[in-house]
Structure formats: C-alpha cells, structure tokens
Symmetry: C2
Subunit: 510 residues, 2 copies
C-alpha cells in the first residue's frame, strides 16, 4: 500500500504522461499540417502514440510500483463491484494508468458533444433535417439490430463448438454491442471535408447524422442495460416495454432539460446587459450549459443528450444575443476544450489497449463484428437513401451514398459507452472489440477519405453559399423537401411541443 505522498507523485506522473502525449500529438499534427499530409488525422495519431506509450508502460512498469490514478480508485461504475472481485482494475498490479470511466463520460465527453451542437452549420443542417433525423433515428436502430443479429449468428456458431462452456453471450448482449458500436464519429472524415471544402450538404448529412445518432445510441444502451438488469436473458415483454418507455422518456426528458436551459440562457442574455462584462457572460454561458448536463444526470436522464440539444439551441438562440466579444470567446473556449478532450480520449484508447488487463480477444467475434459493421452500415444507408429519395426533390446521388457508407467511423462515444461497464467477461469482450473497431475505422477509413473522394468523383472546393442541395446544383433552391418540409420555425415549434411533453414525462416518470 503506497503512502499518500507516493500515491500523489504517481498520479502526477501519470497525468504528466498524458499531457506529454498530447503535446507530442500536437507537434506531429502541426508538422503534418505544415507538410499537408492527409493520410492520417490527429485522432489516428493520438491512438498511435497512445499505443506506443502503452507498450512501453506494459513492459517497463513493476507490478509493485504500479498504481492507479486517483480518479480511478472510486470505481462507482462497476455496479456489481462486490460481486465481481479481482476483476477490472481491482488488483494492484492492474491498476496502471487507468482512469475512472466516469471521467470520460462526465468530464471529457460533454465538451465534445456540446461543441458538436454549438458548431453546427444551422442552415445546411435544417435544410437536410428530415434526412438527418431519418438516418439518426431509423438508421441507428437498424444498425444496432443488424449488428446484433449478425453477431448473434457468430456467437451461436461459436457456442456450437462449445469453446467455453461458462461463457454466456446472449442476444441482449449482442444488442448491447450493436447499440454501442452504432454511435458513429466521423471526426476524421469531417476534418478532411472541411479542409477540402467538400459539398456542404454531404457535410451536413454526415455531421448531423453522427451528432444525433450519438444521442440515440447512448439512450439505446441505457435502455438495454435497464432491460438486462430487469430480467433474464430470455425475452421478457414487460421489461421490453419498460425499456421502450424509458427510451422515449429519457430522450424527451433530456431534450427538455437541454432545451429549457438554452432558452433560459438566451432570455437572460437578451433581457440583461450582462454583455458589458464578457467574463461574467462567458462564465454564465459555460455554467448554464454544464448545469443542464448535471441536472439531466441528477434526475436520471442522459446528460450527453441534454448537452447536445443545449448546444444546438445555444447556437440557434443564445449566440445571437451574446456580445461580440463573447461570441468569439465562447467559440474559442469550446473549440479548445473539444480539441483537448478529443485528443485525450484517443490517446487514452491507445494506452488502454495495453494497460487494461482484462482484454478478451475472440477472433470469431471480432471477425463477425467487422462483417456486421459493414453489412449494418449498408442496411442503414442504401435503403434509407432510397426511401428518402422517393420524397426528396434533390436526390441523394449514389456517390454521396457510397461516401456516407464509407464514413462509418467509430470513436469517442462508442469507446466511452464500452468502457463504462467492464466487470463481466461479456462486457470485456465488447470493450476489446469496440476498441479494435475504433482503431481500424479511424486508421483505414479516416486515412482513405481523400482517396475515396477522388474515386467517387465528389466535388471539392465548393463555395458553401453556392451549394444548395445534396449532389447537384439544381436551380430549384429553397423549395424545401417534400418528405420533411421543415423550416427552422417548424422545428422550433415542434421542439417546444416536445419540451412540454417531456416536462410532463419528467414530472411523472415512467
């Protein structure tokens, strides 16, 4: 048992390691930007450096000197902590450079998600809102179910040969895995898009989908875990409907909290002269946005979803009521927080590949997962695009569909969801496989973006104001889309309606 002072020194050293890792990543990014290297993105790099540091740590640290970072010692997330002895990081020699998973979920993810919402290009987002909502809601559900089905097939085949009799990976576990890896995160692709000035509507479709499907995936995972805790692995219709109810309740509740917070903030800035003191203004902005996350978590909803909608609405309403200085300040602040948090998470992923001691590699499951990933993405993009094209005036052309198919990267959200529960062998297998999926998709798909754009003959260097609809620049602008004729006003009024509904849901939880 190390003394408090030794503990403190180890903690500082570990944190210093990550700071150094971030610095290293930043310098390499800078050199790459300087030399216009595009085959690897900063997040891909962060993983590579993380892996290197992870290997070094694994083979140089002494078990007796190994320690955990302070934040890990209270592993509040392992619900079955007392029933899961010796697992996870509880052995001293395993407690190497590990953080509390709550840290990812509660501290590092909110700024990333808020920034995604806050930096949304409203105009193009709302123009494509119908398609985005379809891809995000229907698409994520389809993706989760297809992945679950394919993986269940592989797991069943595995069971036939009875690899490990104690190993029990049911359909609900498969569904959980499906939900976890359905959260796409094409941060690498979007960075390339931004640099090459790709068609803004493709950008809006992908970005919008990835932002909203995080919310769907998070709540889906929550609902499945509720279902798991409620009953056996057999199908239980009561638990299923309770989970379904929770899915809807949590979504509406989180949405209401995020929306209400943003509207209150906007009203405060509109009707006071707080803008005379930019520090106060920025602080209020930051604290209000954070408080919606905390409030949602405190009442049992999902903070991430609340903070996402808060970000979208802050950008829509509050931003215009900010003083000129605070407009820049808030943008820059969240840009910085997002950058640091994102690179930290990706380096940590690399490190945890080697320092997490309960990896559970299962070749059949991993192969199955990759096949499932590919098939589910295809089942998501092509049929939905076909259906959407029936209603859209400006069709989504095939090259855009292929690009969306290609851009199914997984990232921070999938990782954070997978690391939250790693007590049981099934959860560990999910974690390991998710980690591998993130690495491969970030490197391979992220690295191939520029090449793919060329192959698919997607226009680059597009002036955002000239482009109007996905794919082609047809003359019929501003007519909206028949399937979803959603103007911002319509969205807002429907949002307010949902706020009322979900306030009701908050007061009378299901």
């Amino acid at each position: 048992m190390p003394t408090a002072e030794e503990q403190h020194k180890t903690d500082s050293t570990n944190l210093l390691l990550f700071v150094a890792l971030l610095l290293l990543t930043i310098f390499t990014i800078w050199i790459f930007k300087h030399k216009r290297v595009r085959f690897i993105h900063e997040t891909g790099l962060a993983i590579v450096y993380g892996l290197i540091i992870g290997i070094i740590l694994k083979y140089t640290s002494h078990p007796e000197a190994a320690n955990t970072l302070n934040v890990n010692s209270t592993n509040a997330t392992c619900q079955q902590e007392s029933t899961c002895p010796g697992l996870q990081f509880s052995n001293p020699e395993l407690r190497q450079v590990t953080f509390n998973p709550e840290l990812f979920f509660n501290i590092l993810l909110p700024p990333i998600i808020f920034h995604a919402g806050y930096s949304l290009k409203k105009r193009h987002f709302f123009r494509n809102i119908g398609s985005i909502l379809t891809f995000a809601f229907v698409g994520t559900l389809v993706s989760a179910i297809v992945i679950a089905a394919i993986c269940y097939g592989f797991v069943s085949a595995m069971m036939l040969y009875n690899v490990d009799p104690s190993f029990n990976f049911g359909f609900v576990d498969c569904l959980l895995f499906g939900a976890i890896v359905s959260a796409t995160d094409p941060v690498t692709v979007l960075a390339v898009f931004k640099e090459l000035k790709v068609d803004v509507n493709l950008d809006a479709l992908l970005f919008g989908e990835s932002v909203l499907n995080d919310a769907v995936a998070i709540i889906l995972v929550k609902a499945i875990q509720t279902y798991q805790k409620a009953g056996s692995s057999e199908f239980d219709s009561a638990a299923f409907f309770s989970s379904l109810g929770e899915f809807i309740g949590v979504f509406l509740g989180s949405f209401a909290i995020g929306g209400t917070t943003a509207i209150i903030t906007a009203l405060i800035f509109k009707f006071t002269k707080l803008g005379q003191h930019p520090v106060l203004e920025t602080s209020v902005f930051f604290l209000m946005s954070w408080s919606c996350f905390l409030l949602a978590e405190a009442v049992g909803f999902t903070g991430i979803v609340a903070v996402l909608f808060c970000g979208v609405l802050q950008a829509h309403y509050t931003y215009n009521n900010l003083s000129a200085e605070s407009k820049i300040r808030t943008k820059q602040l969240f840009e910085l927080l997002n950058f640091l948090a994102e690179n930290f998470i990706f380096s940590y992923m690399g490190v945890s590949m080697f320092t997490f001691s309960h990896h559970h590699f299962n070749a059949i499951f991993i192969v199955g997962a990759f096949i499932a990933l590919f098939v589910s993405r295809a089942c998501n993009i092509y049929p939905l695009s076909f259906l959407l094209n029936l209603g859209r005036k400006h069709k989504i052309p095939f090259n855009i569909q292929h690009m969306m198919m290609f851009a199914g990267l997984r990232g921070a959200v999938a990782f954070a969801l997978a690391i939250r529960e790693t007590c049981y062998e099934e959860q560990q297998m999910i974690f390991t496989t998710t980690l591998l999926i993130v690495f491969v998709t970030v490197w391979v798909l992220g690295g191939g973006t520029t090449q793919m754009l060329t192959w698919l003959k997607i226009k680059v260097d597009v002036d955002p104001d000239a482009a109007t609809a996905v794919g082609e620049n047809l003359p019929h602008v501003n007519n909206g889309y028949q399937l979803c004729p959603s103007s911002p006003q319509l969205i807002v009024s429907s949002m307010l309606g949902m706020v009322c509904v979900s306030l009701y849901a908050t007061l009378f939880p299901i």
Copy 2:
C-alpha cells in the same frame, strides 16, 4: 451503502449545487456592478451564498441519504488515514458535499496562481522588485514567526488552565498555523484598486507581495510538515536543518522547473510557425504550463510555485512570441479559469463552514489568532518599510504603509493549505480558525477598502503611465532604487543563474 447509480446522482446533484451557487454569485456581482456597489466583492458574496447553502444543507439533509462527492472518496491526503478512524469525512453522515482537498490544491489553485503570474504588470513589478522580494520573503517569515509566537503564548496560557489534557498544541503547530495564514490574498482590495485606478506602484507592491508570499508560505508549510513528521515536538536541530534545506531546495527546484518550461515554450513559439494554428498554439501553451505543475509535483517539489514562476516568465517571454489571436485567447482563457476557480473556492469555503463536521472552535485561540494577525502584519510592514526607505529614493509614504497594513486579507491559498490535513484535532483547529480569518478579513477589510483609501487620502484615478514611484510623483524618474538596482535584464540573468543552481538541486536532491 448506496448503489453506483444513486452515488452518481448524488454527485451530480452536489456539483449542480455548486454550479447554481456560482451562477447566483455571478448574477449578484452583475447587479452590484450595475449599481456600482463597492462595499462587498464577489468573493465575499460567494462566501455569503456558500454559508446560506451550507446552513440549508446541514438542516435539511438526512444522514442516511448523505453522500460525498466522488472525488472525496479517495482521501489520499490524510496520511494517517488508517490511524485516524472515524475522523474527517469518513462517517457516512459527515460525507456531505465535500471535495477531496487535493482538488483545491491540484486543480483549482494552479489556474489562479498562473493567472496571477501571467497578468503581472511587468513594468511596475520590476521597478519595485527589491521591495516586493523583501516583503514577500522576509515579511512572510517575520509574519509566520510572530503569529506562531503570539499563538503559542495564548495556547500556553490555555494549557495552564488545562482545558483539555489530551490536547497537545505545540510550538511547531503554532508555526504551521503561522505559515498557513501568512499567505495573503488581497484579491478584493486589488479589484477595488483596479476599478478606482489607484497609484500603480501601490498596486504593484501589494500584488507582487501577495503573489510571491504564497510561494513562500506554501514551501514554509511543506518544510514545517517535513519537520513535524521527522521528529518529536521538541526542537531537533537535524530535522530543522533538513527542513531548511528542503525549503531552499524546493524553492529553487520549483523555480527551475517553472522557468525551464516557460523558456522552452517561448523558444518553441519563436522558432516555429505554430501561430498559424491558434488552437494548437493555445493548447501547447496551456499544456506546457500545466505540465510544469505536474512535473514539479511528480518529482516532489511544489507545483504551485513552479506554475507561478512559469506564469511570470510566460508573460515575459512567451507572450511576445504568440500570434495576435493567441495573445487574446490565452489571456481570456486564464481570466475565465481564474474567475471560475476563485469563486468556486470562496463558495466552497462558505459551504464547508457548516458541512465539515469536525470544526474545532476554540475561542481563546481564535482571539489570539486575530491579535497575532494584526501584530504580525504591523511587524512585517512598518519595520520593513522603514528599512526599505533607507535605501529607496522614492520613499514608501506612511499612507501607503497604512494601506498595505490594512490590505492583509487571507484567501484561497490559506484555505487550501489548511484543508489539506484535517485528521488531528490540532489540524482541525487550524482549519476552523483559518476559515474564520478568511471570512472576517474578506468581509471587513475587503469591504472597507474604498473608505480606507479616502481616509488615507490615497490618490485615485491615476494614469498608470504618469505614475512613477510609490506615493509621490517626484521628478527623478527611472533612476531605479539604490537598495535594489534591479533592471529586468539583471533579474533575468540572476534567474538563469538560479535555474542552473536549482537544476543541480533537482539532480542531487537534499
């Protein structure tokens, strides 16, 4: 034992409480700024709101529902944790809304201290460097010793009447208390100065003293604690010299780490074109500054001191090599972090008055402490000013001396030092008394600043560029001060010398 989910909800609620408290403080500050109220500063307000919430929490929360914030559960600072059962926050009903003291020291204090260094008005600081160093080093030592002597007198008198036979408060404890409350923090006074544009040299003297004496007090406390751990409460010359050596070693080591980090950062920005990417530049700036803190803590020096000198040198060297955008970004970022951290600490002080369950109020000691505070400040300011005036061409006039005497507020650093160790009764008594001292000085002295400036006939609305020396605007400008003829160049060269010395000390620790 609450489940992980309940725990998480309680944590979120507690944190939400503090965010709400900060928002409340900000709105009140804004109203006060709007109405030009100057009798109470934001930090004073934060304490008041904290106290109110503390009372509410104390009388409304149920012991069985009471929980601690996640960060507290690993109380790594209580070195004698195993030998101090049931104390501090270890009873479930006492674990209310309490944070790990390390949080204050490692997360909240660094941005405040860095900001102090970074926002230093160099010109006026270096003009008065001789006086500032004298007040900071000699003054703080004098202050700590005088406080210790007076308190020891009171404690001895108390012992005569044998209030509690088990209670053993020795001279070293008194010295520890003296060192803790010698860290002045005239944040309230300086805010008023800034608003009223008081003589810049008075401002520089007070600000410089308060910044540097934090460093001295922190290292003094560290050295005394080393001494305490080494031996008995009797005087032990070996332990004394070891502590003295540690004091010097830690100071030089921390100084070297802070200085080296700043110089490396400056060189990076000077010789690369990182400024083309402001996010990268600001990230590097932030991470480098933080890494010096972590490095210092990891090798056993004092991160706060390292980060202070890092801030001073970053402002001196790195700032001028930053891109125009990053100049503003870094200033704004640290301004915001400082504002949030400061107000958080002061609200927490208010809350902890009622939620910390091991307060040890001792009326005699408290009265003694206040007398000691007053006497020690007088023993610090007047004799040192007299000595400095022997050498200064531009004397420090009496009204400025009185103002400095008056501005002996205590704040965040004293609190953070006191809360670090609260296992034993003596430490609890120190903590309680320090808390009261902070409250009284912030409210009474902070609130009376404007009045005191009027009484002492200190000029306000002074143009910073016109004012040259303390007190009077004499014609002999730019002659420097005979006692300490320190130009910036001289300072820098001596600093570099010290860097070499302390690198030596780092490599061969005492």
